[in-house]
């Protein structure tokens, strides 16, 4: 590898185009490998999946001494053959490599002159071969890192690569690293009281955080309004439902005139009124139908839904995109006499790779999912056959104060997460009957189907060519009776709601106002519910083609339905093993906080 003649142009600025994202667990692993007690410099690769403007670390590849050309107290470099192999493999897989080496003698290291030359030589070498792949470098010390990124390796221009650590509060030693610059300003007078608690920096973090809220019913609407008043300016809403009369006691701000309107619009307008700086991308659709890019740009996703499939989708989505997910839910149970026997709320914070996800906690329920996906007709048929109880579709009891308590806990978790004023709990359960609250820490479960290494629900390649997804021996055409039963191909459309929309709607009002005797007026016609179908799978739109499986052409008789019987063979293919035992390594630290008296 030749020494580069170009001189690196270190701008000293922090990149606004790319951000490195890794979990606290991954960072601890890198630290453990590179900063060993022998004081020798060590080397590792991070292989990152590029998504939008984020580089998501998917794999840490430590390089042992026997694979290094140099490994001393002041220098380290892999063998050239190792570099070619590892970098070539990463590039071929569409991954962006980040080259990490340590300065074990330093707390907060900086790149040396030698490091500068080496980085330029890498750029000179790899930039020609892979001009469209960013090149990143990290030097790690005991407390901090220095970073460098060639966003365009065809030029010597270099910036600092900002780093985001998922679950940063779990680190033994906080990481001093470049951060994404967030320059949205705040109204100091408006948020004076919050700033006195959270500091100016904390309030700015809130203003610069994009929040996705899934479910804008009794719980979600309260969360949305609290966050809006608190200073969040950037929202994405997803909910396919319209407001019904029975929702009015619980959906914050909803009135009789909102019956029949999309919940995302009703709550979106409330948010814009509460915070004139706020903008809401409102999707009147299931979260599964929201364009992936819009949801993945949310720093925090909050689930306030009563459907398990939506919760689990959000869980998998957060894991795949290394985003925080706060899942909130409440439940009231009654006995046959109608007496309340249980009143509870559960709030779980998912910090992918750092703590337990919903599947780690065993919150999947196959039977619940099965019933959720049944149509009304199917449910009725199963009830008639005795497969299901009649009350399986009965509405769940719900009361505003329980929602309010859960909403406030969610907002508090969000605040701790974003402003760092206190570490957030991983899992909170509160009991509405005895006013008890339990907050516990959680750990990822080894073998989790969603978040463990090699898990195949949330991880893995997500983008496929259509010809990989449709194939077989013949043309497939399934004519579902109800088009809504067939997941479609179109993502949902959104409406942007901000202060201008609210001002316009106020100007158009014809006299129906909140709190007046409008109950006698007929409810407005419900807004037409768009037939929203979403991509179940992200795929590239290529020409469809049949995938040829290794199958002999069947013999056809005069009718496709009257073939002669085929011969059965005695040979049986080895069955792919699916018997890896699940082992749960759950360490739960229980902090019991009992609240007495009324809130």
């Amino acid at each position: 590898m030749s020494e580069s003649q170009a001189v690196a142009v270190d701008t000293g600025t922090t990149s606004r185009e790319l951000e490195l994202v890794l979990t606290a667990t991954q960072l601890e692993r890198v630290r453990e490998w590179t900063l060993q007690e022998d004081g020798v410099e060590r080397f590792a690769y991070m292989y990152c999946e590029p998504t939008e403007n984020r580089l998501l670390v998917r794999e840490i590849d430590p390089i042992p001494a026997e694979d290094c050309a140099v490994m001393e107290s002041s220098a380290v470099r892999p063998e050239l053959s190792i570099e070619r192999e590892r970098l070539g493999d990463a590039m071929s897989d569409g991954l962006v490599p980040i080259m990490v080496h340590s300065h074990p003698f330093s707390q907060d290291p900086g790149f040396s002159a030698l490091d500068d030359n080496i980085m330029e030589s890498y750029r000179d070498w790899l930039g020609q071969l892979y001009p469209e792949v960013p090149l990143g470098f990290i030097v790690i010390g005991h407390a901090g890192v220095d970073t460098a990124i060639y966003t365009d390796p065809s030029t010597p221009r270099r910036e600092k690569l900002p780093i985001s650590v998922v679950g940063e509060w779990m680190l033994e030693t906080p990481l001093d690293a470049p951060k994404v610059e967030r320059d949205r300003s705040i109204d100091g007078e408006r948020y004076d009281r919050s700033i006195r608690a959270l500091t100016d920096t904390g309030q700015k973090h809130i203003a610069n955080t994009r929040v996705g809220i899934v479910g804008l019913g009794g719980l979600g609407s309260m969360v949305a309004l609290q966050l809006a008043r608190f200073g969040v300016q950037d929202f994405v809403f997803a909910d396919p439902d319209v407001v019904e009369r029975s929702n009015l006691p619980r959906i914050y701000g909803a009135t009789n005139s909102d019956v029949g309107r999309q919940k995302v619009n009703v709550v979106g307008e409330q948010v814009a009124r509460a915070n004139p700086e706020a903008t809401v991308e409102a999707y009147p659709a299931r979260v599964q139908d929201v364009p992936e890019s819009d949801l993945s740009n949310c720093d925090v996703i909050i689930g306030a839904v009563d459907r398990l499939d939506a919760r689990l989708y959000c869980n998998e989505f957060a894991i795949r995109h290394l985003r925080y997910y706060i899942d909130g839910g409440v439940a009231i149970e009654t006995d046959d006499s109608g007496r309340v026997t249980d009143e509870r709320g559960l709030i779980q914070l998912v910090a992918p790779g750092a703590n337990a996800c919903l599947d780690c906690m065993g919150r999947n329920d196959a039977e619940h999912l099965r019933i959720e996906e049944m149509s009304e007709e199917e449910i009725e048929a199963d009830i008639q056959r005795g497969y299901l109880e009649e009350d399986v579709v009965a509405p769940e009891p719900a009361i505003t104060p329980l929602n309010g308590q859960a909403a406030s806990l969610i907002t508090r978790q969000f605040t701790k997460l974003i402003t760092d004023y206190s570490p957030p709990a991983d899992f909170i359960r509160f009991d509405g009957l005895d006013d008890g609250l339990v907050a516990v820490g959680t750990h990822p479960s080894e073998g989790c189907i969603s978040c463990s290494a090699g898990a195949d629900l949330a991880s893995g390649e997500r983008s496929f060519n259509r010809k990989d997804l449709v194939g077989g021996d013949g043309e497939i055409e399934v004519d579902f009776a109800d088009p809504m039963d067939a997941p479609g191909v179109d993502s949902a459309d959104s409406q942007t709601i901000d202060q201008s929309v609210v001002d316009q709607s106020v100007g158009e009002e014809t006299g129906v106002s909140e709190g007046t005797g409008s109950a006698s007026q007929p409810a407005p016609e419900p807004e037409p519910k768009p037939k929203i179908r979403g991509k179940a799978v992200s795929s590239q739109e290529n020409e469809s083609g049949e995938k040829e499986l290794d199958v002999p052409e069947p013999e056809h008789g005069s009718s496709d339905r009257s073939l002669a019987g085929a011969l059965f063979t005695a040979t049986q293919r080895a069955v792919r093993e699916r018997s890896e035992p699940l082992t749960l390594l759950f360490l739960i630290a229980v902090v019991l906080k009992v609240l007495r008296g009324r809130r």
Binding site: N364, E367, R385, G471, D560, R578
Partner: protein, 139 residues
Amino acid sequence: MNPQRVIPEVQDLHEMIKQRQNPIMSYDLADDLVVKIEQLKFPDGWENSDGAQFGDVIFDLSSTYPRKQPKVYVSDDMSYRGGSPHVLYAQSVAPNGFTKYCIHTLSDWDPDKHSLKTMFNILEVSLENPKAKNPLQEA
């Protein structure tokens, strides 16, 4: 649903069925999320409207597979010993040309242990004795 998990399952199922007979197997993991097996030979006692033992089967995966078992549909002209056994029902909710098959629900369905081959095996056992209340137990 992660195609990376499901595509190999479909191929494994195809290989398994191929060892025993020669149905036509197709899949759509992009839009309909289904696996379709055509011209599958049903066990003795079953026949279609042409009097042959062959019928079509659909595994309707949905976006949540493999978290739960897929739904199963069979050709709506299949009969068993001249009648319609109780396992066939809810035709109005099935795709055109099909009727819903009451497949045994595994109480311990586990995505790590169970797959489309599991479903096919359950279906085979049920087709052998469609009048049984608990075909797996009786098998």
